[in-house]
Structure formats: C-alpha cells, structure tokens
Symmetry: C2
Subunit: 172 residues, 2 copies
C-alpha cells in the first residue's frame, strides 16, 4: 500500500495524459511503461526488504548469498559475482564486506590465480540463505499478485528487454 | 549493457532452474518475474539517470518538478507531493530541499492553512523540467526497447499489480 492510502485515480495514467497534452504523444506510452516498472520494483522491493530485514539481509546481500549457495564449489571470484548479478564492483564489495563481518561468508585466495579473490559461503550463510528464501517465497514469490498468464507474459517481455539491453546473449 | 558485457546465458532463467531444483517450484516463476522487474528497473533507471545528470537532476527530483509543472497552480502541498508520487515524506523533503537550493522551486506558506507548506515551481524549474523531458523522451521513452503490443501488455499487467498493491482505487 502506498504511504497515504490509495489515490482515487491512477497517477501513471494521469502522467500519460499530461505527456500527450504537452505534445509528447510519441513518448507517452514509453513513459508510462517505464514509470510502471519503476513503481512495480518499489512495491516488490519494499516487501522483500521487510521480509529480509529480520534476517539482517538486504536484497543485494541476499542475492550474493544465493549465488554462492547455487555455485558448485560454494565459492566464486568476486568479479564473477558482479558480472552474474549485473551490478558494479563497488556494490559487490559492499555486500561481501557486510556478509563477511557477520560471518556468513569469507574471502579466500584463489588456489591457482594469486590476483583473484574468492567469496566462499560459510555454513551459517547457507543456513540463513535457505531460511530467508523460505520466508521470501512465502511472502512474495509464491503469489506476486499476478495471474499465471501475466507472469508468463511479463517474463517474456522483460527477457527480450534484458537481452536487448545487453544482459545476456545466448546466440554466441 | 551490463558492466562486464553480455553473459552467455540468461541469469534469471538459471536462477529459476535452481529454484525448481531446490524444491521451490511453486515460487520459481514469481521469483523470476519479480527479479526481472528489479533488473528492468535498473536498466531504465541507469539510462534515465545518465540523461538527467547533466541537468543536475535525479529521477526523484525530476518527478517532483514534473508534478508541480503539471499542477494547475504550479504549487502543491508537500504531503500531497508524497502521496501523488507514492514515496515517503523524507524522500520528498530531500528532493524539495535540493530543488530549493538550486533555485528550481521554493517553499511558500499555504494561503489559508497555516500548518501546510507548499512547494512552488519557479520559472527556471519549469524551463529545466521541459528541457530534461525532451532529453529523457528522446533517449528512453520514445523507444523503451519494447514493441507496441508489449508496451500495452506491460501497462495492463502492472496497472493491475499497482491497483492490487493499493496504489490507487478508481472504484471509490
């Protein structure tokens, strides 16, 4: 719910109308689509963050833990964490610092490449990642307030967008 | 483009596969949909921010300026700015502080309600908002890398979500 309760009209629809009135009709639908995505992200992230807070996690730190949990060795070079999560190296450093301080992972030298540092998930990190996932699944992911057809459409549309934005290229 | 170039696979598809393997099949599609929205927001916001930066604006400050620009009186109570943009009062205070410092708007007392402060857009604010919009439209909103049908589907799906989340209620 928005901080002060529902508005009696859709504010993004209203912005689209204003866009058209100001002579920006060719950008009105794009503005509405992008603004809707920004708002949907706020809605979901605020739910996820409130579920993760009791676990001492943010979404960024949770994503790092899950990536390590899913990795075969339980560890991964720091730069690979960044490229897999598609975030900047400083974000990875901040998240890893915090997860290391709280004993959920540790930095270890790469066995053969001296210039590379690995992040390695520790048993308390595994345990917390699994418990946090059960909580986020139950609160958000099992029912993201979309029906089945909508979830599929959304995945398809945003997959094309992410591909076009250079996130991945499965043709190489 | 992601910081380190395209991955050879879709990382959200891979996370979905892992979710299923870990026995969280009922949450796998929801996780993928929500994570796609988070990532789409990052893609768009980083584009918008880089267009707005030369204007000295962030997306949050830009949204405040546009709301005032679109208002009949060119001014609006601060709490109404928050409810219209569906952000918390502290975010509004921060954005308004910064826009006031740079001479784009000013705080004025409400003419009849002493307890209410208005944000009023100033001529340089109007001028900057219009120029910034032309730039964001050209760089992002005219072509958000979605085709027409996808834009419509996305708007419809996310409008239902925002309504379900309590953003607006047009039935009241």
């Amino acid at each position: 719910m928005s901080p002060s309760g529902p508005l009696p009209f859709d504010p993004i629809d209203e912005a689209r109308r204003q866009w058209r009135e100001h002579g920006w009709a060719d950008a009105a639908d794009g503005m509405a689509a992008v603004t809707s995505i920004v708002r949907a992200q706020q809605i979901y992230l605020s739910r996820i963050d409130s579920v993760l807070r009791p676990f001492g996690l943010t979404f960024a730190r949770y994503e790092v833990l899950m990536l390590l949990l899913f990795s075969r060795a339980g560890s991964m070079p720091l730069n690979k964490v960044g490229s897999r999560l598609q975030v900047h190296p400083t974000s990875v450093t901040n998240a890893v610092d915090r997860l290391e301080t709280t004993g959920l992972l540790r930095r270890v030298p790469h066995p053969t490449d001296r210039r590379t540092t690995l992040a390695e998930i520790l048993p308390p990190g595994r345990e917390l990642a699994l418990r946090a996932t059960e909580a986020v699944n139950a609160a958000v992911f099992v029912d993201p307030q979309l029906d089945g057809a909508e979830t599929g459409q959304l995945l398809q549309i945003l997959s094309r967008l992410r591909r076009a934005a250079g996130d991945f290229d499965t043709t190489r």
